[in-house]
């Protein structure tokens, strides 16, 4: 994992943990949707914050729920190409 990607992934992880304080760790393959870590509203907040952080915008219509389903998917879809 490149250093920049690792830092971004840690930032995302911390943001997710803030949303669910009862969690102390988020495994890479935890289903964030089924476990209610993310929902429709927080997906939009995530995209908003990602755009502010990276300057890269993403058209919601080009995305699927699975792009956000796990930390591994988020890394692959949004962070790995940075």
């Amino acid at each position: 994992v490149p250093d920049d990607t690792g830092k971004a992934l840690e930032t995302v992880t911390q943001w997710l943990l803030q949303r669910r304080p009862e969690l102390t760790h988020i495994p890479p393959d935890l289903d964030l949707i089924e476990n209610r870590v993310l929902d429709s509203l927080s997906l939009m907040e995530f995209l908003f914050l990602l755009e502010q952080e990276t300057g890269t915008s993403h058209d919601p219509e080009s995305l699927e729920v699975d792009d956000f389903r796990t930390l591994r998917n988020i890394e692959k879809r949004f962070l790995a190409t940075r």
């Binding site: 939009m44 699927e64 729920v65």
Partner: protein, 142 residues
Amino acid sequence: MRDRIGVDIVSVARVQALLDLHGSELARRLLTERELRDSTGAQGLLAHSVAGRIAAKEAVFKLFHEGTALLPWMHIAVVRGPSGAPLVRLTGRALTLAEASRLGPVSLSTSHDEGYAIAFATAALMSGTTPESVRPDGPSGG
């Protein structure tokens, strides 16, 4: 003819926190210009009104039984009808999903108290549509 229903509840405090944190920038990705105008009071965006529209869009989206796409926020518009009752306007991706589901006109009711906004949406499946519950590959078919 069978109906589909969708319901959603949104915490007004959660929406207020988002408005406090992000101002109207995030709201502009969730609500149309008209919805933003209708949700604005003398002090700016009204959290209970924004929460009501968010709940409404989520409830309507649930009618589509769509498990892959993200909620097309800007293509589900909730406007106030002549009687004051909310009306749903579907465009773009939302209209495509509704047509693919063979949904009839959508009916919507919303309500909010101090802490929560709730929305309930219904639509009839147009004739010729086989409800998922009786399809061979539907929930009761396996």
